[in-house]
């Protein structure tokens, strides 16, 4: 109950596994967004376009700055100016649902890492993050879509800002996935097609894929004027191997097998992971793509803030 009280304050800062255990994905996502929003400072940016289209009645929650005060004075009713578009951004979340994402450190069964047992899989973490991010954008009147992919595109929800869009996104998240490979370029291309004009693309993936192909896809998207943010989801056990043990490590997607003594390779592995992250960061940086490594034991507020910051930099 302490957690429930806490959720009422800042759910975005709670342990993700504990938070996920409290309810369904949409409930958790709402808590996260509510907590996140309550922690935001009011932005100086308006966020609405200025092309007027119509009026509509005021609804609680509408920004008071858009109330037409003249009409309110004349007719004693409150209306809100409605513009050509209700959204000022079309965003698409591209979510990797390949088999490598359906993994957490709890499945290693080597070494001793007590904290890994309660950890969310990368996919579970990414789905909750996706739901929260979609809700956050929708609340900003942005159009949000979703593309799920593994070795092929599993589901695609076109960006919309209308009511019910978030439900569609949530429903899409429950569709099957976990294929044997990650085909990010196709998914990114599909997301760009769905946005239909310049927009924002958030790729949530463990990036266990070939870097050159991703680079080519990113380059194409950037050429199309899209703003891209990559949230690189990693389980802590992928960054730091357990302290000891000896095992035959098998890639669930490619079936690549590597027998290793953890004590022997631990330091070398750590260095290699840092090198890989550095390579991704360097590549994305050269393309102007935002990049953040997200650990699955980090509160959802961390990646959410990173994605929101990227959004705020856009018009």
């Amino acid at each position: 109950m302490e957690l429930a009280r806490g959720v009422g304050h800042r759910a975005d800062l709670f342990d993700p596994a504990s938070l996920a255990a409290l309810g369904r994905i949409e409930i958790v996502a709402r808590w996260i967004v509510d907590g996140f929003m309550s922690g935001l400072h009011r932005s100086a940016r308006k966020g609405f376009s200025v092309e007027f289209a119509d009026y509509r009645p005021y609804q609680p929650g509408d920004d008071l700055r858009y109330i037409d005060w003249k009409i309110a004075a004349r007719a004693d009713r409150w209306v809100v100016r409605q513009y050509e578009e209700e959204t000022n951004l079309r965003a698409s979340v591209v979510l990797d649902v390949s088999r490598s994402m359906a993994w957490s450190g709890a499945q290693m069964r080597v070494g001793q890492d007590a904290t890994a047992a309660d950890r969310l899989t990368k996919l579970a973490y990414a789905e909750r993050l996706t739901a929260a991010l979609a809700l956050l954008l929708l609340r900003q009147r942005d159009a949000v879509g979703l593309v799920r992919f593994d070795d092929k595109i599993r589901s695609a929800v076109a960006p919309r800002a209308r009511k019910g869009q978030w439900r569609r996104v949530i429903a899409a998240l429950e569709e099957p996935g976990t294929g044997k490979a990650s085909s990010a370029p196709d998914a990114l291309e599909q997301a760009a097609r769905l946005i239909n004009r310049r927009g924002m693309i958030v790729l949530i993936s463990d990036l266990l894929m070939d870097q050159p192909e991703v680079e080519r896809a990113m380059r194409a998207l950037r050429a199309g004027g899209h703003d891209i943010t990559v949230l690189h989801v990693m389980d802590p056990a992928e960054r730091e191997l357990p302290s000891s043990g000896e095992a035959l490590f098998v890639d669930p997607e490619s079936e690549l097998m590597v027998p290793a003594s953890i004590a022997d390779v631990r330091a070398a592995y750590r260095n290699t992971v840092e090198e890989v992250i550095g390579e991704w960061r360097s590549m994305f940086g050269s393309l102007g793509v935002g990049y953040e490594v997200i650990s699955t034991d980090a509160p959802f507020g961390v990646p959410l803030r990173r994605a929101f910051a990227a959004r705020q930099q856009l018009p």
Binding site: M108, V250, P252, E253, S254, A263, V265, T272
Partner: protein, 600 residues
Amino acid sequence: MSFLAPLYLALGAFIAVPLIIHLMRRRVGSRVDFPATRYLARAEKEHSRSLRMRNLLLMFLRVLALIAIAAAAARPVASWVGAGHAPTAIAIVVDNSLSSSVVVDGRPLLDQFKTMARSVVNASTSADRIWLVTIDGKVQGGSAATLRDDINRLEPVAGSGDPAAALARAAGLVRASGLNARQIALVTDGQRTEWQRVPPIVGVQLMLYAPSTKPPLNHAVTLADARPVRWTPRGAVATRFLSRDSTSYRITLNGRTFARGTAAPNEEVIVRAAPPERGWVPGTVELEPDELAGDNVRHFAVWIGPAPGVAISPAAGSFVKNAVDVLRTTERVTDGKDIAIVPGDELSTMPALILAPVDPVKLGAANRALERAGVPWRFGAKHTGEATVRGAGLDGVTSTIRYDLVAQAGAVAETLAVVGRDAWIVAGGRYVLVGSPITPDATNLPIRAGFIPWLGDVLTTRLVGEPGQVISAAPGEQLPRPRWADGSESSDGQRTPLGETLEAPTRSGVLFLTRSGRRVGAVVVNPPPEESMLERFTPDELRDHIQSERTLVAATPSSWATMAFRAAARRSLLEPALIAALVLLTLEALAIGARSSRAA
């Protein structure tokens, strides 16, 4: 380097464990799903060289540690360069038995042994304790210079010596030295007959040299006996030879050759003679000299004199008379009055062979006659029934009728035969007394084959001859003093009073025993016939035969000399091996620790 417990080297087989772990480690462990396996593969690929080097280093450290532990368990010993040798107690046992005097390549084998012994003495230091032990068990100690002189003076003994006693004395000396390094340096010809029985040597290292070459062929006189010991004056010499072919021999008496001949190998030859010499005289049987000269001459001693005259009482019985007639025809006795053979009741002169009277009524007269003649024995109670007689030359003799022989006060006599616990034949200075009549109804003695030789010995040796006899002895043998002698006379005429014991001469020859200045017997010293058999153990056979705990066998005389003091020059490597194992295990732990800390 060598090992005191080499079986523990089998522990070295455990070095297979780290090797197997090293080779198999890439095939063990559980299967783990791990999406970032591609990073792992890349890490291994990029760091494979350092990983392989580290694993190899660990493997080598573990292998070396196991080798060090196995070596330590096997108790290694080795010489430390430049360490010299610690103070050592060393007994040099030189086999100077007769067989060591065999000439090989123009010089006696013993000369080679002496050279080897000197080399060991020369290698000693003032801190060492060193003894020279000869094969007869005699010990010489002192400084190196003294021992060198003793070695130079060393001569072969006439016999085989006592190798077991020599080794036992040598082991006792070095063990009692108080020094930790103890050695026996044995140099011998490895003669098979000499090294038959050797006690195990415990707690002392034995360095051994024995020639691996075959000994030269040898011929020898293995038997030379005067038969009988008293010639009257006729007698015979029995002799036998060890040789491969027929051998020419010569027999001498008192330095005079009285017989020559040729004998087949190992055939007993009897040479009869009636020489003119009188009294105790020495004799020899000789062969032509060969490589081993010490056994080419064998000595004997014989008493030569006239046959005694014997007077027989008719009451002594027909069997005794017939026996004396036989002795008379062989010229061992003659008719005369030197010796009387009478029943006790007819005793009037001495010396005499006194028989029990056939008629018990005459026992009283017999006892009175004994008293008059000064014989300190009396006939006692009569016993009938067959009883076994025990005595020299009287095998199978029984008594049916006999009388107790009762000793009188002050009786000093030799019991020649008994029935049960009772004396049956006793002998004094001038008499031999028999407890039965010598008739077939009283005893079966007169119808036994040994009767005539027994009677001849009694008449010619005990009753007329001097009381002495011939004693055969090995060189240097300790003998009990014969009661019938009070002095000795060597071959060069030197006379010596006898002590409590009599030590036989160390050289072959005849030592006469005297009583009141007259020769009454002789000690005849000859090498044991086995000493002439020169067949040798091989060095390895000899090592196995001696059964020492630690035996080093030298292949050559020079290597034998270098083995000396090796026990002190060789130090235990146990501690260094343990330290090495500890250091290696520490390095292994450090390597693992470093790896773990890097991993952390």
